[in-house]
Amino acid sequence: MARPSHPEAMTPHRPGSTRTAPPQVPDDFWTRRRMLTYLLFDATGLPYMLVGLVALRVAFALGRGPEAWASLMEQFSHPIYVALHLLALVSVLFVGVRFFRLFPKAQPAKLGPAKPPPAPVIVIGLYGAWIGLTLALLVVLGGIWP
């Protein structure tokens, strides 16, 4: 029916005059769909970190020379790397969509003299930048230019 929260959740420093039962959450608190989506969002932290570390390997390989580079590219064709990069791609898209939805309302109405643009403008700007940067990088990394 219920599982415990932290035993001192929302507990006042000066206890009341009667014995209280410890704070609890419903059995499905952590497994409801909305909560699972949020936990998944946090879990994308793992593919992100792995991609960052793999990119580090890329940078070192570039510094070491053609043999190291060829070897790394060959490793990247193995299923485990393909799976990682595919998972990371799905994660990045998931993160992007959720983050761009939540970002506009996190901008204060004013910060000193500065005021943010209206939320729809922010969202269009974010997706525009996302698509624009992706296309630009695809052109460069995909061999089209230079």
Partner: protein, 251 residues
């Protein structure tokens, strides 16, 4: 006799009971109630107390979702029971006390933990010098008001605390409503206390422990959007922190 659409419907209410003088741990008790079609959860609870079991304890007051007294977990979701229609539910309705709070008795939770966090953010106008009456009133444009009005709509119902995964796990976290209300004052053009509050926001109750689950805003019955406030407060706290290295502080 008033005409009403729909018929009476028998529902089973599985209600958490806890009497500290008798019970070691909370348990549940089931009540079968013939419910009118237009009833809210609170109507059923009041019926149980009035007609079936006078020992049931639960908080309620205004019956119109402005006082914030009647917050409980209904089928696992934090709700204002005065505002939650039974027609949304099936044959079985589970009513539990608000999650993440110590339970005083039955559906009544210990609120003082929230009051402590609330007071900690200094939820009042702070000015360096009190304004003399002869100087007149504070002037505030509609734009000034719009900067914080949404966050002032909080009725302290604490549903957001029942929904927050961080509140469930970290006892020091200030929590959605307290941070939203502190931020409300930081954004109020009449207030000069942002420096003080931002220090509290960066303290043990840290606003940065919010992981933007957005659950608080999903359950808020008044459209306050505390998640927006907390995450705005993060930016405010960071800017304040950065400026503390550049600008000489008053304290």
């Amino acid at each position: 006799m008033a005409a009403h659409s729909g018929e009476m419907r028998k529902r089973t209410f599985v209600v958490t009971r806890f009497d500290p003088d008798v019970d070691q741990v909370p348990k549940t008790q089931s009540y079968e109630v013939a419910c009118r079609p237009d009833w809210k959860v609170l109507d059923a609870l009041n019926h149980i107390k009035d007609e079936v079991d006078p020992t049931l304890s639960h908080r309620w007051s205004c019956r119109m979702a402005v006082c914030g007294s009647c917050g409980m977990n209904v089928n696992g979701e934090p709700k204002l029971t005065c505002k939650t229609a039974l027609s949304e539910y099936g044959d079985v309705v589970e009513v539990a006390p608000l999650a993440n709070f110590p339970i005083v008795r039955d559906l009544v939770i210990e609120m003082d933990g929230f009051m402590e966090k609330f007071q900690a953010v200094k939820p009042w106008i702070i000015t360096a010098k009190e304004k003399a009456a002869e100087q007149g009133t504070n002037l505030q444009s509609p734009e000034d008001l719009a900067a914080f009005k949404q966050f002032s709509m909080c009725i302290n119902c604490m549903l957001c605390y029942a929904a927050c995964p961080v509140v469930a796990k970290e006892p020091h976290f200030l929590g959605p409503a307290a941070i939203a209300l502190g931020h409300r004052y930081n954004m109020d053009s009449r207030d000069e206390g942002a420096e003080e509050r931002n220090e509290i926001f960066r303290g043990e109750g840290s606003v940065f422990h919010c992981s933007y689950a957005n659950e608080c805003s999903e359950v808020c019955p008044k459209g306050v959007d505390p998640a927006a406030a907390v995450n705005q407060a993060k930016l405010g706290a960071v800017v304040d922190w950065a400026s503390s290295f550049v600008v000489k502080r008053s304290r």
